[in-house]
């Protein structure tokens, strides 16, 4: 054994002793080998203490060797690339790795919080529900203290520099788990011609075969694995995904897999570094990797897209992908995830140095580390004897195998006796000694009653206690898929029963225990799935493997102790959350009898290991207490994720600038170059205003407004929705949708139209134009564009299929450039227009095709500003050029580009509403004074709703204009309005009453003050020289001239006068010139 790694075996294992890797653990420099996990390297260095439990802060060591590990929850890495809460058993060792324990203050070795353990009796299940209530105001303090001990690791504080991505894939058969059953299932399916994906969470395929001493087909198991993986790699349609955890089985056979692209088995120094790797950086090294580009499997690095020389020269800019989310639609699924060994529930079974038997075998056989020198093996089944044999083989002393069964084990038991291992049949380990490390085990006779008290008959000194309580098949994905579970009394475990989706289980996850059975079950599962796909199963025979005699497992859920369960040293069921047998007893005593209540009350199964070790034991103990059978107590419903997955991989590449599409108009780059800040309007970026040197928004907007009112402005209105509606029934269709009499519109006319929801509330508005007898051009609001088209199509397709109308979106084809202001006509004239633009020839609310500057356009004489204005519809590909020509032509009129803010001011001066700003889904057209738009001659969507009693109320909130009494104050949008200023003062007086009973923040609730409306739009009007506002006010339309009050926060209520909502050019002459 090497001095640096005292527990490292001199030979064997799958580690590369020629490649030492240095790492740090809690500041100590240690060394392991390539091929190690962090856990195996820690054991090699004789590190026992890796954490503290959550509540009682008891010292904890490594218990398991995989996804089930509850204790070794570490912080890996530092800074922005730190990763909290990784299980040491699942972290491949790499050079320079930095790991820290996450619990305990000041450190894991000496933890002040360990006092909790001393007072553990006070901290029984649910204790926090019973205290910290008095005095009431102190809960904040209590909670502050409680929160200080929250959590394991810490989130980084800087944004994640790493990249993640999603990958969609389809297959005939997805095999989850690459152990003996999974390999055989995949091989059978692949050889039968199916498209196969095989995923396994470990670095290497093989599962338990990598940690056993068995032979398969006459070869050492690991060699057989390599051969099968080779064979799979040669199949054209087989994709191999190591380091890939199938964590979610969703509806309709959709599964999600998290692939850790940089967890390399070679432990290369750069595995986690962002800059040092070949471009794609993910999965280019050892082993065979899926190369999704052609559905084949690429062998080795040379064949991989990541690694070619081609990719080399931009490596300093390209981030390698850290993790990849595979979104898989599988026609059939084989679940071969193996099983989890259960701990035994005896006193102090959480002491460092108490380990699962399967883990001990894994440490020895796969990683060549010896976790102890003198062991006691405690079991209720045969499998633990393997660990005893492995320990002996590796040079450790097995002081005793303590087997609860009077008959002991089968063939493995005989082997143990042959090796001279003492076997104590009909005995149990009732307690262990040692605090930060096991120092001995107390042995007692087992009489078959877990609730009896026993006297230990002997104590054996040891530094390792190996335990096995039997195996629970990993039925997580089967259950996630909706499949049922059956309790198997002979195997003492839940087995997958009926599936409701297209999946079958195989191997240890299907309750098979021997290697030979698992291999055969894999073949069966593979053949079964391909048959369902209509393929002929390839005749593959399961390879030969030893099948040994085993004696049946015996139920041993709670191990008896020197005192009853309430008073004996703690017997842990859930290690991470410190749930003990006494806690479950307490829960039942207090009436929490349903398994879900027990779990929630005791936190059983709510740790980061999600009860992989403890749930079955907990249910069995509960069943015992209640005198019920385990299936009567119920099963657990498994939810994703099988093991935790990073937020980053779930989000994929859609973060940062790719979070959501930014939609840009064809003129966008001009706006950007002009320095316009952008307003985010849904997915669009629209220019907000165009500041000149040193201008703030107010100055810029005032200038832009005056330019439009006095000369000419230009605006990009391209984001409006545009729809071509055509067909013989188009009039009838639009009559049903719009509220006005569409049929009365003559060809070439425009009209302002509104549409309502069936509830009568205003949904969208816009100008429509009749392009022909059977053809209309509809415009919608920016935000409503997609919704309106969907809405129209829905009515057309689902309700009125007899109407012959085609709707085509033209939103993406046309830009709309609004040229507005008294000089707009001169700008167009100057540019050269092939039609007469004078008011006679081309009056207000008309549309005409035209040629402007030689470019075909459609001109609309419509106005959203109340000025003489033209909206130019032009193909996007020419829009920027047109914009620039207009700017040129308008130079002599100081044509002024304006943004959304000026547009809002101009339309508010005219009292035009913005749907979604001046309305909110509770506003009818009547409320907006749009009665004249409501036809009496026809039905239209939402019309009937307007007759409902509530819509006829006279005190509904109605659109009005408001003028501030001081002629200065621009009312903040969203200001609430009250009838009398006095009510606010009275409200404040009432506020001096005592605080509401129970308020912890000294908040003094007041009597509500009735509100009569609110300000929806409010601006300083540059051309009027005073502020204006639009508001919705109860009964407002009949209250013109009345004074109400704006309740301004922190100020006296400001009197405001209700006026008509049109502030400028009430007669509307300016747009008709």
């Amino acid at each position: 054994m090497t001095g640096a790694q005292p527990n490292r075996l001199p030979t064997g294992g799958r580690v590369d002793r020629s490649r030492p890797l240095g790492f740090r653990f809690d500041g100590n420099a240690l060394q392991g080998f390539a091929g190690d996990t962090l856990a195996s390297a820690l054991i090699a260095n004789d590190v026992q203490l890796v954490g503290r439990s959550f509540k009682l802060r008891r010292p904890r060591g490594i218990v398991g060797s995989g996804a089930e590990e509850p204790n070794a929850i570490l912080q890996i890495g530092e800074g922005a690339t730190a990763q909290p809460n990784l299980r040491a058993t699942q972290v491949p060792l790499r050079d320079g790795l930095v790991a820290r324990t996450t619990r305990g203050w000041p450190g894991v070795r000496f933890d002040v919080g360990a006092i909790n353990d001393t007072f553990g009796r006070l901290l029984g299940a649910g204790f926090y529900y019973k205290t910290f209530m008095y005095p009431r105001a102190w809960w904040k303090l209590y909670e502050h203290a409680i929160r200080r001990s929250a959590g394991f690791g810490a989130a980084p504080t800087a944004p994640d520099p790493d990249c993640y991505e999603h990958m969609n894939a389809h297959c005939d058969v997805l095999v989850a788990g690459g152990g003996p059953a999974g390999l055989m299932a995949a091989l059978t399916a692949a050889k039968s011609g199916a498209r196969v994906i095989l995923a396994d969470e470990q670095n290497e395929f093989g599962g338990g075969l990598l940690a056993c001493t068995d032979q398969v087909d006459g070869a050492p198991a690991a060699e057989w694995v390599a051969a099968v993986v080779d064979e799979l790699g040669d199949c054209a349609d087989c994709t191999l995904l190591p380091r890939s955890t199938v964590f979610g089985y969703h509806d309709h056979n959709f599964l999600t897999i998290a692939e850790r692209c940089r967890d390399h088995p070679d432990g290369s120094a750069d595995a986690f570094s962002a800059t040092n790797r070949p471009a794609a950086g993910d999965d280019s090294t050892a082993g065979r990797q899926h190369d999704p580009r052609n559905g084949r499997t690429a062998k080795g690095p040379d064949d991989h897209p990541d690694s070619g020389a081609a990719a080399g020269h931009h490596q300093d800019t390209v981030q390698p992908v850290k993790e990849r989310l595979w979104r898989i639609r599988a026609r059939q699924v084989v679940l071969a995830q193996g099983s989890f060994e259960r701990p035994l529930v005896f006193c102090n079974n959480d002491r460092p140095g108490v380990m699962l038997a399967s883990a001990v075998s894994t440490w020895i056989n796969r990683y060549a580390v010896l976790p102890g020198r003198r062991a006691v093996v405690f079991t209720n089944n045969d499998s633990a004897y393997r660990a005893a044999l492995d320990l002996t083989e590796a040079g450790a002393e097995v002081a005793a195998v303590v087997d609860s069964r009077r008959g002991g084990a089968g063939e493995l038991g005989r082997k143990a006796l042959d090796l001279g291992i003492p076997v104590l049949q009909g005995h149990v380990v009732s307690d262990v000694a040692g605090r930060q490390r096991v120092s001995g085990a107390s042995i007692a006779r087992w009489a078959g009653d877990g609730w009896a008290t026993v006297k230990p008959t002997m104590r054996i000194d040891c530094d390792l206690v190996v335990m096995s309580g039997g195996y629970s098949p990993a039925v997580h994905l089967h259950s996630q898929a909706g499949g049922q579970l059956d309790w198997d009394e002979s195997q003492l475990g839940f087995l997958p029963a009926k599936s409701v989706q297209a999946n079958v289980s195989a191997g240890a996850g299907n309750g098979k225990s021997s290697l030979a059975e698992c291999l055969a079950d894999g073949v069966r599962a593979g053949a079964e799935t391909v048959s369902k796909l209509g393929l002929e199963p390839s005749p593959i025979e399961a390879p030969a493997a030893g099948n040994i005699d085993e004696n049946p497992i015996e139920a041993l859920w709670r191990v008896p102790a020197v005192r009853d369960a309430d008073r004996c040293p703690k017997q842990f069921i859930d290690f991470q959350n410190d749930t003990s047998v006494a806690d479950i007893k307490l829960a039942v005593r207090e009436g929490y009898r349903n398994v879900e209540h027990v779990k929630r009350y005791t936190a059983l199964g709510f740790g980061t290991d999600q009860g992989k070790l403890g749930n079955i034991n907990g249910m069995a103990v509960l069943a015992d207490i209640l005198g019920k059978s385990i299936p009567e107590v119920g099963t657990t419903t498994f939810r994703p994720a099988y093991t935790p997955v990073s937020f980053g991989v779930g989000a994929g590449e859609s973060v940062g600038e790719l979070y959501e599409p930014v939609r840009k108009t064809a003129i966008h780059e001009w706006h950007e170059a002009a320095g316009a800040p952008m307003e985010v309007v849904g997915q669009w970026h629209r220019p907000w205003y165009f500041p000149r040197d040193g201008e703030d928004m107010h100055a810029a907007v005032a200038r832009e407004c005056l330019a439009v009112r006095n000369s000419v402005g230009i605006m990009d209105a391209s984001t409006l929705g545009k729809i071509d509606a055509a067909g013989p029934d188009v009039v009838e269709f639009l009559e049903r949708i719009y509220t006005h009499d569409v049929g009365l519109m003559k060809v070439g006319r425009c009209a302002y139209g509104i549409m309502l929801g069936e509830d009568g509330m205003l949904m969208d508005d816009g100008v429509m134009a009749r392009r022909g007898e059977h053809r209309f051009y509809l415009t919608t609001t920016t935000g409503g564009a997609a919704n309106v088209l969907d809405w129209l199509e829905k009515w057309l397709q689902t309700e009125w299929p007899e109407l012959q109308v085609y709707l085509t979106s033209l939103t993406e084809h046309y830009s709309t450039i609004a040229v507005a202001g008294p000089h707009s006509r001169r700008v167009l004239d100057k540019l050269g227009c092939d039609i007469a633009l004078d008011n006679e020839s081309f009056p207000f609310m008309r549309m005409k095709p035209a040629t402007l500057a030689g470019i075909p356009v459609t001109l609309f004489r419509v106005s959203f500003s109340g000025e003489l204005a033209y909206e130019i519809n032009i193909e996007n590909s020419l829009a920027l050029a047109m914009w620039e020509k207009l700017m040129d032509a308008g130079r002599e009129f100081e044509i002024t580009p304006y943004g959304t803010e000026t547009m809002h001011v101009l339309r508010a001066e005219k009292g035009y509403v913005i749907v979604g700003q001046d309305t909110d889904g509770s506003v009818t057209p009547v409320d907006l004074g749009m009665n004249r738009l409501l036809s009496n001659e026809k039905d239209f969507l939402g019309k009937r709703s307007l007759r409902r009693p509530d819509c006829l109320r006279e005190d509904r909130k109605q659109l009005v204009g408001l003028l501030s009494s001081d002629a200065r104050t621009v009312l903040p949008e969203g200001t609430q309005l009250i009838d009398e200023a006095g009510s606010l003062a009275r409200g404040h007086r009432r506020a001096k009453r005592p605080a509401w009973r129970g308020s912890q923040l000294g908040h003094r609730s007041r009597e509500p003050i009735p509100m009569c409306g609110h300000v929806t739009s409010s601006y300083q009007s540059a051309c009027l020289g005073h502020p204006i506002a639009l508001a919705l006010v109860a009964g407002g339309q009949s209250r013109k001239g009345a004074t109400i009050h704006a309740a301004l926060p922190g100020r006296d209520p400001l009197p405001v006068e209700i006026v008509a909502p049109v502030f400028y050019d009430a007669g509307g002459q300016r747009q008709h010139v």
Partner: protein
């Protein structure tokens, strides 16, 4: 993520579709003849069953056609999807899905592959 059979385009992922609620709610021919309560029933009340549900989906990212789906609201299994009556009032019989293989069981409507 559901796998939905568009009667026109074939099986596509749920993300390509938008949901349209309960199918078969017919707009009253003469809304004015209805009482407020009858109008409210049309407007707001829904069957909302646990179990088989006939509902509307739109293949928003595909052919933009609305069609019907019969889906179980507990198991989320889709029994079939069907086209809506067209002008002639004809609708097809729909696509039945075999949940063992995940494949449509019968000849596919339209001309899709």
């Amino acid at each position: 993520m559901l796998l939905i059979d568009c009667p026109w385009c074939g099986s596509r992922a749920e993300t390509e579709f938008s949901y349209g609620g309960e199918a078969g709610i017919v707009r009253p021919a003469d809304p004015d003849a209805l009482s407020d309560a009858e109008w409210a029933d049309y407007l707001f009340n829904r069957t909302n069953p646990r179990g088989a549900h006939r509902e509307l989906w739109n293949h928003a990212q595909g052919c933009r056609r609305w069609f019907g789906v019969e889906r179980d609201t507990v198991t989320y299994r889709i029994a079939r999807s069907f086209t809506l009556p067209d002008a002639a009032g004809a609708a097809d019989g729909g696509v039945e899905r075999d949940f063992e293989t995940g494949d449509p069981t019968d000849a596919e409507p339209g001309d899709r592959r």
